[in-house]
Amino acid sequence: MLSVLPWIVLALPLVACIVLMLWPTEPDRRITRVIAVGSVAAAFALVIAIFVDLLGRDAEERTEVTTLWEWAAVGDLEINLALQVDQLSTFMMLIITGVGSLIIFYSMEYMEEDRDYRRYFAEMTFFVFSMLLLVLAANYLFLIVGWAFVGLASYLLIGYYYDRPSAVAASKKAFVVNVIGDVGMVLAAFLLIRDLGTLEYTEVFATAEGGLGDGSTSAEAVGFLLFVGAAAKSAQIPLHTWLPDAMEGPTPVSALIHAATMVTAGVYMVARSNALYELAPYAAGTIAVVGAITLFMAATIATVQDDIKRVLAWSTVSQIGYMMVAAGLGLYGAAMFHMMTHAFFKACLFLSAGIVIHAMLGEQSLDRMGNLRGRLRAAFVGMLVGALAISGIPPFSGFFSKDEILAYALAQGTLGVIVGIVGILGAGLTAFYMFRLVFRAFYGPDPDGGYNPEPHVTTWVMAAPVLILAFLATFAGWIQVPQGWKLVDDWLDPVVGTPDLKPSLGLEAATSLVSVALCVVAIGVAWWLFGHGSERRLAHAKTLARYREVLHQGYYFDWAFEKFLIEPGRQVGAFLRDFMEPAAIQGSIRSTVVATLETARGLSFLQAGLVRLYVFTMIAGLAIVGVIFILVGT
């Protein structure tokens, strides 16, 4: 059964996408809904069947690779179109299809007013297909293919509103940054092929130690290059600038692609390649450091954002930083656990924000919000639960997953202690910026000028997914409890292993106490600043203007890329076009041609046109040959 089910899971959203695309006219909206929601929900049901099947097996027999056909065999290299079902891919599939079903269901109403209903759902199902391919692939080649396809889906959906210049620019930026990541992945694949002669996961991981060498340059290079891909996809510094701009897409897209699933693909890939990172300590350390820098910088930037979705976008960048810290330190179970809880609470936050935006006819600025808690109940509940979860307040899910990362990090030696402390500081910032959002949008007085028109309440179609996700964001953390049971770690252990160094009870307790205390203080400060209207906020904004400007500019990454990378490239291109090409290339050919013609005129009595010239040159050429051979022969 396990040889067929994953193919069906993969095919369902793909078929849905193709049917929607090829439907000759814009189909009835009910048909679109049934096809899109039905296919992803059916895929979810089948993934549960796979999960149950795996549960019934011994832990060591849960890996199943099925090959559809030999895709390419060149020289010694064989690449199969194959899928690998194991604990890790099943874990990912559960999140993708589970959260995916909820978000696509939610989209039915969110996109109600849109002209291009079919295109939206076709692109969403294409994304689900691509993401499933990414996690199911049994080798690096199809990982890269899935990797690029989710990038394409992301590109299409960011640029969904193609009549907005900002959306068009954002989609292009996302695509190009992702191609940079693809190049890193492809170069890593070349190295693997050169040194190991294969890209199949099972063979790569089995032969890596002998073929690459422990701590060798090749192993480190593979680790770094794979991380270039991961950083681009998962928006880690310095390849993070596309994700905040990606908020130009519809909000459910941000929830599914730019929060719950695609952007965590980098974490999945690092976890999947754990056997390689064991051989590459420096590359792994770099991941942890980059993750720590990212989580801190992104959290600071999130504190000054005034667009409700941009707060959440920077928050996503920051939270993925936590996962990267964990993955870099070899805490794969913790990384995947946080990925799961993050998928729940961040999707919950985005969908709640979506209710607000939908209710306010597209308004996204926090300045135009306030006192919404009575008006939009479901959004308020979702936002509040999500904020508590992401801040790590017990007993919400984020508490368990984030504190596991922090406590384990502190037990991993010097590097671990440093990034762990950064993580604890980041947790305080997280609580601050999240409750800033909650207080500014849902508390205080109505915004200046009041609401015009009054925000309209959405139906259960949008409320139900939010509440389900809020439920999960509240309770999902209980599957992994410090010093208690570790369901996620135990499930993933055969694939990713468990860390050798474990924190003591005292360290875990101390970490939790400190981080929770910090969060409570941060929430208090946020309440003091933002809980009662805009007066205090604006006063402080003025005194802090200089620092806020740095944060508003995102530490000037965009500016630097534009100034030092893109503009020089443009200049070189224009120089080549305007000077090099006309002068050197065209000039040289012109003189060659003119010289030929002049010679021909001088020598030829057949000087009436090109064809004769042509005949002449042929004869002349033969004559030259003859002369050469006479000379050579003597």
Partner: protein, 530 residues
Amino acid sequence: MPYVTLMIVIPLAAALLLLAVPEDRVDVAKALAVLGALATVVVGAVMVADFDRSEGGLQFVDRQNWADQVGLEWIVGVDGISLWLLMLTAGLFLVAIASLVWKTPNRPIAFLALLLLGEAGLMGVFAAGNLVLFYVFWEAMLIPFYFLIGMWGGQRRAIATTKFVIYTMLGSLLMLVAIVATAFSAQDVTGQFTFEIAELKGIDFGGTTSTLLFLGFAVAFVIKLPLWPFHGWLPDAYVAAPIVVTGLLAAVMSKAGAYGFLRIGLPLFPEGADKLALAIGILSVIGIVYGSLLAWRAHTMRLLVGYSSLAHLGFILLGIVAFDVQAGQGAVLQMVNHGIVVVAAFTIVGVIMRGTGGDEVIDDVGGLAARAPRLTWVFLVVAMASLAIPGSNSFVGEFFILTGVFRQHIVLAVLATIGIVYAAVYMLRLYQTSTALREKGVDARRAELRTVDYVTLAPVLIVMFLIALWPMSLMGATEASVEEAIAPAQIAAERPADQIAVEVEPNPPPEAVPLPGDEADTLPEDGATP
């Protein structure tokens, strides 16, 4: 079966028959042309089915007397490399001719006849089994294209044809010199005077001679390709030619240059190829970056696609001169990929120009997505294939090319990846500018896809998807031939034995009996003259 001869003769016969069709019977002419092109494809399909995929040498060899006295024979045949190039040529000419049924040019009969002549010439280049035949077809294919650009072209066509013909001809002349020199030099070694390519393999010309001979051929090949900086003829010719012809120039004619390296350059002059491989590789990488930058900054759609072609052809040549099985396999596949993708790209440019009334300045066009959704979707697929997104057909080729290049010249492979990033930048520029935002400068209804466009695009897209999903369908047939083509060069480059798949027979064989007259050559210089 003489499949190969048939594939040359059928279009030639169709072209000659067309001349007998009276001026006012355009419908007959069209039917005849389509039939001729179709018959060629059918013969090709049968040939593919009959082809032995494990065999590296020429198959279906057809040998006829021609001018025996001077070592000339009509020898045509097909191996794994030329198999797909013949099919590519046959397929794309059929598509081009079929599209002309709907979009009749002026003086259609002459146009169709010239196209068919061009097809016959290209077929001959890819099928030729001897150097003189190769040269004859090489020159023959130029003539129809000269007239096609010169008589049906747009602005500046006179300059374009002058540059195109004279520049490529200069290269050809050197090649002619090299051909004759090869035959005589080979005679010095083996005692046989022959132009047959198979008979010339394995000869040790000695380093300098080998390099000079290789160079003589290489100049012709790199101009035809073109390789940077020999691409001066390309912008003018691509812009001046009717867009059908531009597509064929980029798709098929350019492959003749790349093919020359695999058929003649590497197998016959491995030492010379080895000496110049790195230089050609560096020029290829420069071409990749240069072409990408110019495509990014190009003003018109046609120039953008044209310069992107320069970059893509750089990848192909880079794969060939890497002397690596994977790179070579990738290069052969990429020849096919580039051919079909660039035809699709030029078709779409043509469709957009129909909407703009001929204006092809990129920034003048916009907003197609709203009113021409089908075109936008197809354009997206083609753009993605052109920028070689993983999962597309072009990715397969680029991936294997760079896999091999990475193994042999890691720096060149890494530098070439700059081209991958810029490909995304310039293709998205073209795609987004024309499809996104408000409608601008284009009548979207006129630009939406019609039957005629599907005739061109549907077969091309189907092949693109087939290759993307199952590249083995093509690569399975090319492996043995690629191994054979690059093995001599691999030996000359002293590659590790495990990379070389085929043994190269020395020529003449060591046990060969010395021919009468040979002794005279082996006498010491100061020996008594008879």
